[in-house]
Protein backbone atom coordinates (compact mmCIF):
# COMPACT_ATOMS: atom_id res chain seq x y z
CA UNK A 1 0.00 0.00 0.00
CA UNK A 2 1.49 3.26 -1.03
CA UNK A 3 -0.15 6.63 -0.47
CA UNK A 4 1.19 9.93 -1.73
CA UNK A 5 0.03 12.99 0.23
CA UNK A 6 0.35 16.36 -1.48
CA UNK A 7 0.84 19.13 1.04
CA UNK A 8 1.22 22.90 1.06
CA UNK A 9 3.14 25.27 3.25
CA UNK A 10 0.56 28.00 3.80
CA UNK A 11 1.17 31.58 4.72
CA UNK A 12 -0.87 33.41 7.34
CA UNK A 13 -1.15 37.16 7.15
CA UNK A 14 -0.94 39.12 10.37
CA UNK A 15 -2.44 42.50 11.19
CA UNK A 16 -0.36 44.38 8.65
CA UNK A 17 0.15 43.88 4.96
CA UNK A 18 2.61 45.23 2.41
CA UNK A 19 2.75 44.17 -1.21
CA UNK A 20 5.76 43.11 -3.25
CA UNK A 21 7.31 45.74 -5.53
CA UNK A 22 5.33 44.57 -8.56
CA UNK A 23 2.08 44.77 -6.58
CA UNK A 24 1.03 41.28 -7.58
CA UNK A 25 1.46 39.48 -4.26
CA UNK A 26 1.91 39.98 -0.54
CA UNK A 27 5.47 40.77 0.62
CA UNK A 28 6.73 37.47 2.12
CA UNK A 29 8.08 39.35 5.17
CA UNK A 30 4.49 39.83 6.31
CA UNK A 31 3.61 36.16 6.23
CA UNK A 32 3.92 33.39 8.80
CA UNK A 33 4.40 29.90 7.41
CA UNK A 34 2.72 26.71 8.59
CA UNK A 35 1.51 23.34 7.34
CA UNK A 36 -1.94 23.72 5.78
CA UNK A 37 -4.54 22.51 8.29
CA UNK A 38 -6.28 20.22 5.76
CA UNK A 39 -2.98 18.54 4.91
CA UNK A 40 -2.45 17.44 8.51
CA UNK A 41 -5.73 15.51 8.26
CA UNK A 42 -4.73 14.06 4.87
CA UNK A 43 -1.39 12.89 6.28
CA UNK A 44 -3.09 11.33 9.30
CA UNK A 45 -5.57 9.50 7.09
CA UNK A 46 -2.75 8.08 4.96
CA UNK A 47 -0.85 6.93 8.04
CA UNK A 48 -3.93 5.22 9.49
CA UNK A 49 -4.71 3.34 6.29
CA UNK A 50 -1.14 2.10 5.98
CA UNK A 51 -1.02 1.12 9.64
CA UNK A 52 -4.23 -0.86 9.27
CA UNK A 53 -3.03 -2.49 6.08
CA UNK A 54 0.18 -3.39 7.91
CA UNK A 55 1.84 -4.94 4.87
CA UNK A 56 5.44 -5.10 3.80
CA UNK A 57 6.58 -2.07 1.89
CA UNK A 58 3.70 0.14 3.03
CA UNK A 59 4.69 3.68 2.48
CA UNK A 60 3.41 7.21 2.94
CA UNK A 61 5.22 9.72 0.77
CA UNK A 62 4.64 13.45 1.24
CA UNK A 63 5.24 15.77 -1.68
CA UNK A 64 5.12 19.51 -2.03
CA UNK A 65 6.17 22.24 -4.43
CA UNK A 66 8.07 25.36 -3.49
CA UNK A 67 11.33 26.71 -2.16
CA UNK A 68 13.46 25.52 0.74
CA UNK A 69 11.07 27.01 3.30
CA UNK A 70 8.58 24.26 2.38
CA UNK A 71 10.86 21.64 3.96
CA UNK A 72 9.53 22.65 7.40
CA UNK A 73 6.02 21.55 6.40
CA UNK A 74 7.34 18.30 4.91
CA UNK A 75 9.33 17.63 8.12
CA UNK A 76 6.18 18.11 10.16
CA UNK A 77 4.49 15.31 8.17
CA UNK A 78 7.60 13.16 8.44
CA UNK A 79 7.48 13.68 12.21
CA UNK A 80 3.88 12.46 12.20
CA UNK A 81 5.14 9.26 10.62
CA UNK A 82 5.38 9.71 6.87
CA UNK A 83 8.28 7.76 5.39
CA UNK A 84 9.76 10.07 2.77
CA UNK A 85 9.44 13.56 1.42
CA UNK A 86 9.85 14.97 -2.06
CA UNK A 87 9.99 18.68 -2.79
CA UNK A 88 9.65 19.98 -6.31
CA UNK A 89 11.61 23.19 -6.63
CA UNK A 90 9.20 25.91 -7.65
CA UNK A 91 9.99 29.58 -7.38
CA UNK A 92 7.63 32.48 -7.01
CA UNK A 93 3.89 32.63 -6.72
CA UNK A 94 2.19 29.57 -8.06
CA UNK A 95 -1.39 29.06 -9.19
CA UNK A 96 -3.10 25.65 -8.77
CA UNK A 97 -2.38 24.45 -12.31
CA UNK A 98 1.31 25.29 -12.08
CA UNK A 99 1.57 23.45 -8.77
CA UNK A 100 -0.35 20.45 -10.14
CA UNK A 101 1.97 20.29 -13.17
CA UNK A 102 5.02 20.44 -10.90
CA UNK A 103 3.70 17.60 -8.71
CA UNK A 104 2.29 15.33 -11.44
CA UNK A 105 5.49 13.62 -12.70
CA UNK A 106 6.69 12.96 -9.15
CA UNK A 107 3.38 11.46 -8.06
CA UNK A 108 3.07 9.40 -11.25
CA UNK A 109 6.53 7.90 -10.76
CA UNK A 110 5.61 6.72 -7.26
CA UNK A 111 2.72 4.66 -8.69
CA UNK A 112 0.65 5.05 -5.53
CA UNK A 113 -2.59 3.24 -4.68
CA UNK A 114 -4.10 6.46 -3.42
CA UNK A 115 -3.20 10.13 -3.72
CA UNK A 116 -4.43 12.60 -1.09
CA UNK A 117 -4.51 16.36 -1.06
CA UNK A 118 -6.21 18.75 1.33
CA UNK A 119 -9.61 20.05 0.13
CA UNK A 120 -8.17 23.55 0.03
CA UNK A 121 -5.45 25.69 1.52
CA UNK A 122 -6.22 28.14 4.30
CA UNK A 123 -4.49 31.06 2.60
CA UNK A 124 -5.91 30.78 -0.91
CA UNK A 125 -9.08 28.62 -0.58
CA UNK A 126 -9.02 27.61 -4.24
CA UNK A 127 -9.91 23.93 -3.79
CA UNK A 128 -8.36 23.25 -7.17
CA UNK A 129 -4.84 21.76 -7.05
CA UNK A 130 -5.91 18.25 -6.07
CA UNK A 131 -8.57 17.82 -8.73
CA UNK A 132 -6.33 19.43 -11.37
CA UNK A 133 -3.66 16.90 -10.41
CA UNK A 134 -6.18 14.04 -10.78
CA UNK A 135 -6.77 15.18 -14.35
CA UNK A 136 -3.05 15.30 -15.14
CA UNK A 137 -2.56 11.82 -13.67
CA UNK A 138 -5.62 10.42 -15.44
CA UNK A 139 -7.08 9.33 -12.09
CA UNK A 140 -10.63 9.62 -10.83
CA UNK A 141 -10.88 12.52 -8.39
CA UNK A 142 -13.30 12.94 -5.51
CA UNK A 143 -13.43 16.24 -3.64
CA UNK A 144 -14.28 16.94 0.00
CA UNK A 145 -13.96 13.46 1.47
CA UNK A 146 -14.76 13.22 5.19
CA UNK A 147 -14.83 9.43 5.55
CA UNK A 148 -12.85 6.73 3.77
CA UNK A 149 -13.12 2.96 3.90
CA UNK A 150 -10.36 1.19 2.05
CA UNK A 151 -11.14 -2.32 0.86
CA UNK A 152 -7.68 -3.79 0.35
CA UNK A 153 -8.97 -6.98 -1.30
CA UNK A 154 -11.19 -5.24 -3.84
CA UNK A 155 -8.82 -2.28 -4.16
CA UNK A 156 -11.84 -0.06 -3.88
CA UNK A 157 -12.47 2.96 -1.73
CA UNK A 158 -15.89 3.82 -0.40
CA UNK A 159 -15.87 7.47 0.54
CA UNK A 160 -18.21 10.08 1.94
CA UNK A 161 -18.38 13.40 0.14
CA UNK A 162 -19.43 16.11 2.54
CA UNK A 163 -22.00 18.19 0.67
CA UNK A 164 -23.45 21.54 1.67
CA UNK A 165 -25.60 21.54 4.78
CA UNK A 166 -23.92 18.41 6.13
CA UNK A 167 -25.59 16.03 3.66
CA UNK A 168 -23.34 13.08 2.81
CA UNK A 169 -22.91 11.49 -0.63
CA UNK A 170 -21.64 7.92 -0.39
CA UNK A 171 -19.42 7.18 -3.39
CA UNK A 172 -17.55 4.09 -4.59
CA UNK A 173 -14.37 5.07 -6.34
CA UNK A 174 -12.03 2.95 -8.40
CA UNK A 175 -8.39 3.16 -7.45
CA UNK A 176 -5.80 4.44 -7.88
CA UNK A 177 -7.69 7.63 -7.19
CA UNK A 178 -7.06 11.12 -5.94
CA UNK A 179 -9.14 12.23 -2.96
CA UNK A 180 -9.21 15.68 -1.42
CA UNK A 181 -9.49 15.32 2.33
CA UNK A 182 -11.74 17.43 4.54
CA UNK A 183 -10.93 18.55 8.08
CA UNK A 184 -12.59 16.49 10.81
CA UNK A 185 -12.12 13.14 9.00
CA UNK A 186 -9.84 12.03 11.84
CA UNK A 187 -7.88 13.44 14.74
CA UNK A 188 -4.35 14.20 13.53
CA UNK A 189 -1.66 12.90 15.89
CA UNK A 190 0.83 15.15 17.54
CA UNK A 191 4.45 14.45 16.76
CA UNK A 192 6.53 13.66 19.82
CA UNK A 193 9.80 15.50 20.34
CA UNK A 194 11.58 12.26 19.58
CA UNK A 195 9.67 11.88 16.32
CA UNK A 196 10.48 15.46 15.39
CA UNK A 197 14.18 14.73 15.96
CA UNK A 198 13.99 11.52 13.97
CA UNK A 199 12.25 13.35 11.14
CA UNK A 200 15.35 15.49 10.74
CA UNK A 201 17.11 12.35 9.56
CA UNK A 202 14.46 11.34 7.06
CA UNK A 203 15.06 11.97 3.43
CA UNK A 204 13.63 14.89 1.47
CA UNK A 205 14.54 14.59 -2.18
CA UNK A 206 14.57 17.85 -4.12
CA UNK A 207 13.61 17.75 -7.77
CA UNK A 208 13.45 20.32 -10.53
CA UNK A 209 9.99 21.14 -11.87
CA UNK A 210 9.49 19.60 -15.26
CA UNK A 211 7.36 20.88 -18.08
CA UNK A 212 5.34 24.03 -18.32
CA UNK A 213 1.94 25.17 -19.38
CA UNK A 214 -0.50 27.99 -19.04
CA UNK A 215 -1.23 29.04 -15.45
CA UNK A 216 -4.82 28.96 -14.18
CA UNK A 217 -4.83 32.76 -14.11
CA UNK A 218 -2.60 35.80 -14.13
CA UNK A 219 -2.76 38.20 -11.20
CA UNK A 220 -3.32 41.72 -12.49
CA UNK A 221 -3.48 43.51 -9.17
CA UNK A 222 -3.59 42.69 -5.49
CA UNK A 223 -4.96 45.14 -2.98
CA UNK A 224 -6.46 45.61 0.46
CA UNK A 225 -10.22 45.83 -0.02
CA UNK A 226 -11.70 49.19 0.85
CA UNK A 227 -13.26 49.34 4.28
CA UNK A 228 -16.25 51.36 5.32
CA UNK A 229 -18.97 48.81 4.91
CA UNK A 230 -17.56 46.91 7.85
CA UNK A 231 -18.60 46.86 11.46
CA UNK A 232 -19.13 49.86 13.69
CA UNK A 233 -16.43 49.21 16.26
CA UNK A 234 -17.35 49.33 19.92
CA UNK A 235 -14.71 51.10 21.95
CA UNK A 236 -13.87 50.74 25.61
CA UNK A 237 -12.89 48.07 28.08
CA UNK A 238 -14.58 44.65 28.18
CA UNK A 239 -17.22 45.92 30.63
CA UNK A 240 -18.18 48.76 28.31
CA UNK A 241 -18.19 46.47 25.28
CA UNK A 242 -20.37 43.95 27.12
CA UNK A 243 -22.77 46.67 28.23
CA UNK A 244 -23.20 47.86 24.66
CA UNK A 245 -23.69 44.30 23.42
CA UNK A 246 -26.32 43.65 26.12
CA UNK A 247 -28.11 46.82 25.07
CA UNK A 248 -28.04 45.83 21.39
CA UNK A 249 -29.30 42.33 22.11
CA UNK A 250 -32.21 43.54 24.23
CA UNK A 251 -33.10 46.25 21.70
CA UNK A 252 -33.02 43.94 18.65
CA UNK A 253 -34.93 41.13 20.31
CA UNK A 254 -37.62 43.41 21.71
Amino acid sequence: MKIVVCIKQVAALGDEVEFSDDGLDVDPDYLELALNEWDGYATEEALRICEQAGGEGDEVVVVSAGGEEVDAALRRCLAMGADRGVRVELAGRADPFTVARALAPVVAREQPDLVFAGVQSSDAVQAATGIALAELLGLPGVAVVNKLDWDAAARRARVHRELEGGLVDVVDVETPALLTIQTGINEPRYATLRAIKQAEQKEIVVEAAAGDGEPAYRVRRMFVPPKGEGAEMLAGDPAQVAARIAELVKERLA
Binding site: V17, F97, P140, V142, E164, G166, V168
Partner: protein, 276 residues
Protein backbone atom coordinates in the same frame (compact mmCIF):
# COMPACT_ATOMS: atom_id res chain seq x y z
CA UNK B 1 -27.21 30.98 -21.69
CA UNK B 2 -28.16 28.64 -18.91
CA UNK B 3 -27.26 24.96 -19.01
CA UNK B 4 -29.11 22.23 -17.15
CA UNK B 5 -27.34 18.91 -16.75
CA UNK B 6 -29.61 16.23 -15.36
CA UNK B 7 -31.23 12.91 -16.13
CA UNK B 8 -34.40 14.77 -17.02
CA UNK B 9 -33.32 18.37 -17.64
CA UNK B 10 -36.73 19.38 -18.99
CA UNK B 11 -38.22 18.73 -15.56
CA UNK B 12 -36.44 21.75 -14.14
CA UNK B 13 -38.01 25.12 -14.79
CA UNK B 14 -35.19 27.61 -15.18
CA UNK B 15 -36.91 30.12 -17.45
CA UNK B 16 -35.81 33.09 -15.37
CA UNK B 17 -36.05 36.64 -16.63
CA UNK B 18 -32.94 37.57 -18.57
CA UNK B 19 -32.03 34.07 -19.69
CA UNK B 20 -31.78 34.01 -23.51
CA UNK B 21 -31.39 30.33 -24.00
CA UNK B 22 -31.69 27.17 -21.93
CA UNK B 23 -29.47 24.31 -23.06
CA UNK B 24 -30.48 20.89 -21.82
CA UNK B 25 -27.86 18.20 -21.44
CA UNK B 26 -29.32 14.85 -20.59
CA UNK B 27 -27.14 12.32 -18.77
CA UNK B 28 -27.79 8.72 -17.71
CA UNK B 29 -27.01 9.19 -14.05
CA UNK B 30 -29.63 10.34 -11.58
CA UNK B 31 -27.15 11.99 -9.23
CA UNK B 32 -23.91 13.94 -9.55
CA UNK B 33 -20.82 12.03 -10.59
CA UNK B 34 -17.63 13.90 -11.44
CA UNK B 35 -16.69 12.11 -14.66
CA UNK B 36 -20.23 12.50 -15.99
CA UNK B 37 -20.50 16.19 -15.16
CA UNK B 38 -17.09 16.85 -16.69
CA UNK B 39 -17.93 15.11 -19.97
CA UNK B 40 -21.29 16.91 -20.17
CA UNK B 41 -19.86 20.40 -19.65
CA UNK B 42 -16.94 19.59 -21.95
CA UNK B 43 -19.41 18.71 -24.73
CA UNK B 44 -21.39 21.84 -24.00
CA UNK B 45 -18.32 24.08 -24.18
CA UNK B 46 -17.21 22.40 -27.42
CA UNK B 47 -20.64 23.06 -28.94
CA UNK B 48 -21.08 26.66 -27.77
CA UNK B 49 -17.60 28.05 -27.09
CA UNK B 50 -18.57 30.40 -24.25
CA UNK B 51 -16.19 33.14 -23.13
CA UNK B 52 -16.85 32.20 -19.52
CA UNK B 53 -18.31 29.07 -17.99
CA UNK B 54 -19.77 29.88 -14.58
CA UNK B 55 -20.32 27.24 -11.92
CA UNK B 56 -21.16 27.66 -8.27
CA UNK B 57 -18.28 27.27 -5.82
CA UNK B 58 -19.88 24.11 -4.44
CA UNK B 59 -18.63 20.68 -3.42
CA UNK B 60 -19.82 19.22 -6.74
CA UNK B 61 -18.09 21.89 -8.83
CA UNK B 62 -14.88 21.50 -6.81
CA UNK B 63 -14.98 17.86 -7.85
CA UNK B 64 -14.63 18.50 -11.60
CA UNK B 65 -14.29 22.24 -12.36
CA UNK B 66 -10.49 22.41 -12.09
CA UNK B 67 -10.09 19.22 -14.17
CA UNK B 68 -12.46 20.60 -16.82
CA UNK B 69 -10.52 23.87 -17.21
CA UNK B 70 -7.17 22.09 -17.29
CA UNK B 71 -8.35 19.56 -19.87
CA UNK B 72 -9.65 22.29 -22.17
CA UNK B 73 -6.65 24.56 -21.70
CA UNK B 74 -8.87 27.24 -20.19
CA UNK B 75 -8.29 29.63 -17.32
CA UNK B 76 -9.67 28.84 -13.90
CA UNK B 77 -10.54 30.63 -10.69
CA UNK B 78 -12.69 29.65 -7.72
CA UNK B 79 -14.54 31.49 -4.96
CA UNK B 80 -14.91 34.40 -7.36
CA UNK B 81 -16.95 37.29 -5.99
CA UNK B 82 -16.88 39.72 -8.92
CA UNK B 83 -16.70 39.19 -12.68
CA UNK B 84 -16.27 41.79 -15.42
CA UNK B 85 -15.46 41.87 -19.11
CA UNK B 86 -13.07 44.76 -19.81
CA UNK B 87 -12.67 44.96 -23.56
CA UNK B 88 -11.42 41.52 -24.51
CA UNK B 89 -10.15 40.68 -21.05
CA UNK B 90 -12.18 38.69 -18.56
CA UNK B 91 -11.46 39.86 -15.02
CA UNK B 92 -12.40 37.87 -11.92
CA UNK B 93 -11.94 39.12 -8.38
CA UNK B 94 -11.31 36.74 -5.49
CA UNK B 95 -9.87 36.95 -2.00
CA UNK B 96 -6.71 35.63 -0.45
CA UNK B 97 -5.66 35.41 3.20
CA UNK B 98 -9.16 35.21 4.64
CA UNK B 99 -10.42 38.25 2.77
CA UNK B 100 -7.64 40.51 4.00
CA UNK B 101 -6.49 41.03 0.42
CA UNK B 102 -8.31 40.89 -2.90
CA UNK B 103 -6.80 39.96 -6.23
CA UNK B 104 -7.94 40.77 -9.74
CA UNK B 105 -7.22 37.83 -12.02
CA UNK B 106 -7.22 38.27 -15.75
CA UNK B 107 -7.95 35.85 -18.56
CA UNK B 108 -7.13 36.56 -22.19
CA UNK B 109 -9.03 33.47 -23.31
CA UNK B 110 -12.04 31.48 -22.09
CA UNK B 111 -12.21 30.50 -18.44
CA UNK B 112 -14.10 28.34 -15.97
CA UNK B 113 -15.09 30.40 -12.95
CA UNK B 114 -16.56 29.03 -9.72
CA UNK B 115 -18.66 31.76 -8.14
CA UNK B 116 -19.03 32.33 -4.41
CA UNK B 117 -22.56 31.36 -3.34
CA UNK B 118 -24.80 34.09 -1.88
CA UNK B 119 -22.78 36.87 -3.55
CA UNK B 120 -25.42 37.40 -6.20
CA UNK B 121 -29.15 37.35 -5.49
CA UNK B 122 -31.01 34.38 -6.96
CA UNK B 123 -32.51 34.87 -10.42
CA UNK B 124 -36.19 35.67 -10.35
CA UNK B 125 -39.12 36.30 -12.59
CA UNK B 126 -40.27 34.49 -15.68
CA UNK B 127 -38.59 34.93 -19.03
CA UNK B 128 -39.10 33.46 -22.44
CA UNK B 129 -35.87 31.69 -23.39
CA UNK B 130 -35.37 29.48 -26.39
CA UNK B 131 -34.53 25.84 -25.70
CA UNK B 132 -31.86 23.61 -27.19
CA UNK B 133 -30.43 20.19 -26.51
CA UNK B 134 -26.80 19.16 -26.44
CA UNK B 135 -25.87 15.51 -26.38
CA UNK B 136 -23.28 14.49 -23.86
CA UNK B 137 -21.10 11.50 -24.63
CA UNK B 138 -21.56 8.44 -22.48
CA UNK B 139 -18.52 8.01 -20.23
CA UNK B 140 -17.21 5.43 -17.80
CA UNK B 141 -17.93 6.88 -14.39
CA UNK B 142 -15.10 5.93 -12.05
CA UNK B 143 -16.60 7.38 -8.87
CA UNK B 144 -20.19 6.25 -8.56
CA UNK B 145 -22.97 7.57 -6.34
CA UNK B 146 -24.23 4.90 -3.94
CA UNK B 147 -26.57 6.71 -1.58
CA UNK B 148 -27.20 9.88 0.34
CA UNK B 149 -27.00 9.94 4.09
CA UNK B 150 -28.90 12.55 6.03
CA UNK B 151 -27.34 13.86 9.16
CA UNK B 152 -28.96 12.27 12.20
CA UNK B 153 -31.88 14.13 13.72
CA UNK B 154 -30.59 16.63 16.21
CA UNK B 155 -31.95 17.75 19.55
CA UNK B 156 -31.48 21.38 18.58
CA UNK B 157 -32.48 23.44 15.57
CA UNK B 158 -30.27 26.50 15.30
CA UNK B 159 -32.05 27.66 12.14
CA UNK B 160 -35.18 28.73 14.03
CA UNK B 161 -33.48 30.62 16.86
CA UNK B 162 -33.95 34.39 17.13
CA UNK B 163 -30.69 34.79 18.96
CA UNK B 164 -27.56 32.76 18.38
CA UNK B 165 -24.49 33.00 20.54
CA UNK B 166 -21.82 31.51 18.33
CA UNK B 167 -18.35 30.46 19.38
CA UNK B 168 -15.28 29.48 17.38
CA UNK B 169 -11.64 28.56 17.57
CA UNK B 170 -11.09 31.38 20.05
CA UNK B 171 -12.48 29.28 22.92
CA UNK B 172 -9.23 27.33 22.77
CA UNK B 173 -10.04 24.31 24.90
CA UNK B 174 -12.90 21.88 25.16
CA UNK B 175 -13.25 22.63 28.89
CA UNK B 176 -14.05 26.24 28.06
CA UNK B 177 -17.22 25.44 26.14
CA UNK B 178 -19.39 24.86 29.19
CA UNK B 179 -19.16 28.47 30.32
CA UNK B 180 -20.50 29.61 26.95
CA UNK B 181 -23.34 27.09 27.14
CA UNK B 182 -24.24 28.64 30.47
CA UNK B 183 -23.88 32.16 29.15
CA UNK B 184 -26.08 31.38 26.14
CA UNK B 185 -28.79 29.95 28.41
CA UNK B 186 -28.58 33.00 30.65
CA UNK B 187 -28.84 35.42 27.71
CA UNK B 188 -31.73 33.51 26.15
CA UNK B 189 -29.62 32.47 23.17
CA UNK B 190 -29.09 29.17 21.44
CA UNK B 191 -25.42 28.15 21.25
CA UNK B 192 -23.96 27.61 17.79
CA UNK B 193 -20.40 27.02 16.66
CA UNK B 194 -18.01 27.38 13.75
CA UNK B 195 -16.45 24.41 12.02
CA UNK B 196 -13.21 23.95 14.02
CA UNK B 197 -15.16 22.99 17.15
CA UNK B 198 -17.03 20.30 15.21
CA UNK B 199 -13.83 19.04 13.56
CA UNK B 200 -12.27 18.73 17.00
CA UNK B 201 -15.21 16.55 18.04
CA UNK B 202 -16.22 18.98 20.81
CA UNK B 203 -19.64 19.87 19.44
CA UNK B 204 -22.26 18.19 17.27
CA UNK B 205 -22.52 19.36 13.68
CA UNK B 206 -26.18 20.15 14.32
CA UNK B 207 -24.86 23.35 15.92
CA UNK B 208 -22.48 24.23 13.08
CA UNK B 209 -23.07 27.44 11.15
CA UNK B 210 -21.67 27.68 7.63
CA UNK B 211 -21.65 26.16 4.19
CA UNK B 212 -21.09 22.62 5.44
CA UNK B 213 -23.38 23.25 8.42
CA UNK B 214 -26.54 25.28 8.71
CA UNK B 215 -27.48 28.55 7.09
CA UNK B 216 -29.01 30.74 9.78
CA UNK B 217 -30.90 34.00 9.85
CA UNK B 218 -31.47 34.94 13.51
CA UNK B 219 -32.42 38.45 14.60
CA UNK B 220 -29.16 38.66 16.50
CA UNK B 221 -25.93 36.74 15.84
CA UNK B 222 -23.26 37.24 18.49
CA UNK B 223 -19.95 35.77 17.30
CA UNK B 224 -17.29 35.27 19.95
CA UNK B 225 -13.80 34.20 18.83
CA UNK B 226 -14.81 33.49 15.23
CA UNK B 227 -12.45 34.91 12.61
CA UNK B 228 -14.92 34.45 9.76
CA UNK B 229 -13.81 31.94 7.14
CA UNK B 230 -15.63 32.41 3.85
CA UNK B 231 -17.66 29.24 4.43
CA UNK B 232 -18.77 30.48 7.84
CA UNK B 233 -19.77 33.91 6.56
CA UNK B 234 -21.89 32.29 3.84
CA UNK B 235 -23.96 30.66 6.56
CA UNK B 236 -24.68 33.70 8.74
CA UNK B 237 -24.35 36.94 6.83
CA UNK B 238 -28.12 37.24 6.37
CA UNK B 239 -28.61 37.58 10.14
CA UNK B 240 -30.46 40.70 11.27
CA UNK B 241 -27.80 42.17 13.51
CA UNK B 242 -24.31 40.70 13.67
CA UNK B 243 -22.05 41.49 16.61
CA UNK B 244 -18.51 40.12 16.56
CA UNK B 245 -15.83 39.98 19.24
CA UNK B 246 -12.34 38.99 18.16
CA UNK B 247 -8.79 39.79 19.21
CA UNK B 248 -7.64 40.22 15.59
CA UNK B 249 -8.68 43.68 14.34
CA UNK B 250 -8.32 42.43 10.77
CA UNK B 251 -10.58 39.39 11.24
CA UNK B 252 -12.85 38.89 8.22
CA UNK B 253 -15.92 38.64 10.46
CA UNK B 254 -15.73 42.41 11.03
CA UNK B 255 -16.36 42.84 7.30
CA UNK B 256 -19.89 41.46 7.60
CA UNK B 257 -20.64 42.43 11.22
CA UNK B 258 -22.80 45.41 12.11
CA UNK B 259 -20.94 45.89 15.36
CA UNK B 260 -17.51 44.69 16.32
CA UNK B 261 -15.16 44.81 19.25
CA UNK B 262 -11.47 43.98 19.34
CA UNK B 263 -11.38 42.22 22.68
CA UNK B 264 -10.76 38.90 24.38
CA UNK B 265 -13.89 36.77 24.27
CA UNK B 266 -13.41 35.51 27.84
CA UNK B 267 -13.23 39.06 29.22
CA UNK B 268 -16.37 40.08 27.35
CA UNK B 269 -18.17 36.85 28.31
CA UNK B 270 -17.37 37.45 31.96
CA UNK B 271 -18.86 40.93 31.78
CA UNK B 272 -21.91 39.75 29.82
CA UNK B 273 -22.50 37.15 32.49
CA UNK B 274 -23.03 39.93 35.04
CA UNK B 275 -25.60 41.69 32.86
CA UNK B 276 -28.11 38.89 32.29
Amino acid sequence: MLAVIAKDPAALDVSFAGVDEVVRVSVEQEEFEGDVALAAVEALIAARRPRATLLGFTVNSMGYGPALALRLGQGFASDVHAVALEGDTLVATRSFHGGKVHAELEFAGPAVLLLRPTTWPPAEGAGSPTFADVTAPSVASRARHVAFQEVAQADVDITTADFLLSIGRGVGERENIEQFEELAAKMGAVLSVSRPLVDAGWMSNARQVGQSGKTVKPKVYLALGISGAVQHLAGMKAAGTIVAVNTDPEAAIFGVADYGAVADLFDVAEELDKLF
